[in-house]
Subunit: 470 residues, 2 copies
């Protein structure tokens, strides 16, 4: 008799776990049921801002595999079906039809919890007004596009229609990407961020560079103030955002305050939830015997701080799914943890980060030195040379690379992967100084920016060692 | 009394050694004399093809620092002066003025040999004809530019003037870069390569991709034949290149057969020369007490094969110079060796390599598996997604990453540095599989090409392990 795998959530982790398990299984070994409360499976949430901007032309391009495609591969995908409870003793989940309200129990041999994340929504006055949108799901992306189209000018751009002014709340990944999308659509855009500089995923000195670039794109960047609430018109639509002592008129508001793990079901079932709010698993992504969790609802191990962290990112979600599927099928897969690598862009400004920022290093208890260098993406004399700023954190005394941040123009951001690989291997900045990285004038200066930054950091490490070490 | 540092060669290694030593020294500690036989100091030889193509507008952009700039920093730069002998016992070099023939002896306390490389020139009939050029020095670059201008049409392009057809001999780095330069200038270009596929710095299966791209740029690529000689006109100018059974008409010929260490002086002085033809040094780049060698004239340690190799590359030359200068000044600098990382491009095709190719791995005695994957530089749905092919070599049984090669369009090549950093740290392909590399749709698919290639290679490693290991 085949074992039943029940998967909660039909996006990256869930579908990847389902596909991987089936691919490694004998015929008839598994029956796989996926419950998805939304309308879509396996789509790129990370791509939504670029569909909204129009850079990606068609919504369907964001969908890697439709429910029917998964069904053709032998997966019983049940759309608009959500789990309302998990019973670990009875080995079953309670299922409810989102549209019809029908309920039933579904037994499982193996359970995959891939319920994703939910947006952080502060309880603000007027936050349920029309015209205020999150960007978490493809459905929400659709709502934004439809709303913009309703308010657009005849040329398809916002501006002269109803949607002249956008306010984006939060200047993190979603915030800056959505701000870009609004600007690309020709909409006056104001970004409001609580922190002193935008993009708190990097240090404020690097965030200041991002601010300058955002302002250069015509965005208004308001920092250091929290949103107090929304003014709502008689038609029930948002009219303005109140923040600090000011009122920012808004025809549309995008909430980009980040997400938190959607772990309520797991918590109610008695599974362990970590300090990050995510479901705790072992290295094989197992939350309990026969119960697996991964993706945005799970907590993962940070290799530098040693703590559990929550990082909602499609690449991790896909890795988790593959690992879970491999393990369910009887193979061995272990997630080695994260080091906080990420990349984003605002128009042609690229932002990369890996390891720990100063704030994160402080929180983890590290003593560290920093070094910041300016360089170019190519030889300085190359006509297409672009500027980039690289900041490096290295541990005091040991010189171990703790973090790196890059803010620069086209072609700079992906260098963060070199730092990531160095951190992964616990390299010191001294060891990095003479690494054999590729060089040719169209691709880097004779000393690549990575090497220059490492060298400067190594000097700082040297400098802080007392002449007569204790 | 100050110690005298004599430097043979005023390019990357020599001037970097001189500058670094002075920067770390007390006032008056060192007198630094640099002997340079050419007309220029501190220039980017790697940039010459791009100046010839016109992409870099001005020759002076390739010059990082002129003799006078170095003199202002306190270095006694003697141009058009070449050393003709080194006497290690007397601690002196014999110097001859290239233009005036004057000779003198110059004593040294510390000697830096940075005599660079000389082009490989096979003894072919007619090879001293006019119109046949190497691309090793800025002077040679000037000769090519002047020759092309003499033969150019009124619009500045080659074509209707005398320089309608170019033949490039050799399809390595210089060959493909010069072929690009000729094509950019509107000249019909044929590249003749002895090997079965162009660009033997990568494996033939990857070279075949380069061939297709070169042909797509309108170049004629002739492989598997050696050049037999040159037909010379009555005016003493080259008319054609004979190779195999064919004759290739040529108004200009570029020799791109690579370079070999210019180590004759060192050999004559009794310094050890390695199997690669380069000067042997210790890890501090010391060839003998008080005698240092680096850059294109030196042999370096390959971290994978364990052998001495000769790799002429500006980035190594600069590193050597800094290390030598640091050591002369009483500091500590050690060169950690190379892993064969390099990058190049032909028009918008990028080529990266690191570690060992199949041929090199065979020569070193490694058993290995290979994996080749096709991927994209960005999410597949990103409008600017570009194709890339990644090939990985991993050691049998251990799975240690031995090499990687990338051939792809804009934005693909620099990923080679991630592989380089992984090789530097002796990572296995299995360990690389779940590395935390950066992801966002404009920058990579959800599984970066590096990870996909590592995963496929890890499967190959698994596959070749017997089910019941001995």
């Amino acid at each position: 008799m085949s074992k039943r795998i029940v998967v909660l959530g039909g996006d990256a982790t869930g579908m990847s776990a389902a596909s991987t398990a089936l691919r490694h299984a004998d015929d008839g070994e598994f029956e796989v049921v996926v419950l998805e409360r939304g309308h879509y499976t396996s789509y790129s949430a990370c791509g939504i801002p670029y569909w909204i901007s129009g850079h990606v032309a068609d919504r369907d391009q964001l969908i890697a595999r439709t429910p029917d495609e998964h069904r053709a591969a032998g997966i019983d995908v049940r759309m608009r079906a959500e789990a309302t409870a998990i019973d670990l003793d009875k080995r079953s989940v309670s299922v409810r039809g989102v549209d019809d309200g029908d309920t039933y129990e579904l037994g499982f041999d193996e359970l995959v919890i891939a319920t994703g994340a939910v947006p952080t929504v502060p309880p603000l006055e007027g936050s349920d007004a029309q015209g205020i949108f999150g960007v978490q799901s493809l459905e929400q992306g659709e709502e934004i596009v439809e709303d913009l189209l309703r308010g657009a000018r005849s040329d398809g751009k916002g501006g002269d229609g109803d949607r002249r002014k956008a306010v984006v709340v939060g200047a993190g990944y979603i915030g800056v990407e959505m701000a870009e999308a609004m600007v690309v659509r020709g909409i006056d855009t104001t970004v409001i961020e609580h922190a002193p500089e935008p993009f708190t995923q990097v240090d404020p000195d690097m965030g200041a560079l991002i601010r300058v670039a955002m302002e250069g794109e015509g965005m208004t960047v308001v920092t250091g103030v929290a949103v107090d609430g929304f003014d709502v018109g008689e038609d029930g639509r948002v009219k303005a955002v109140r923040a600090g002592d000011a009122v920012y008129p808004a025809d549309i508001v995008i909430m980009g305050l980040g997400v938190k793990p959607n772990a309520r079901l797991a918590a109610d079932a008695g599974l362990e939830i970590g300090p990050s709010g995510g479901i705790v698993t072992d290295v094989r992504m197992r939350a309990a015997p026969g119960v697996w969790a991964g993706g945005d609802c799970a907590e993962v191990h940070h290799r530098l701080s040693g703590k559990g962290v929550h990082i909602a990112l499609g690449t991790h979600a896909n890795k988790h799914g593959r690992i879970i599927g491999t393990n369910i099928a009887g193979g061995y897969g272990a997630f080695p943890g994260v080091i906080g690598t990420a990349i984003s862009k605002v128009c042609d400004l690229e932002i990369g980060r890996t390891g720990l920022t100063e704030r994160e290093a402080d929180a983890a208890g590290f003593g560290y030195v920093t070094a910041t260098v300016e360089s170019t993406t190519t030889a300085g004399y190359w006509p297409e040379a672009e500027n980039m700023t690289v900041k490096v954190l290295a541990e005091q005394r040991t010189g171990r690379l703790l973090g790196a941040q890059i803010v620069g123009r086209t072609g700079s951001g992906k260098r963060i992967d070199v730092f990531a690989t160095a951190i992964w291997n616990a390299m010191t900045v001294e060891e990095m100084t003479f690494m054999d990285l590729s060089y040719a004038p169209p691709f880097s200066p004779v000393w690549d920016a990575v090497l220059i930054a490492a060298r400067k950091a190594a000097k700082e490490v040297q400098g802080e060692i007392p002449a007569s070490p204790v």
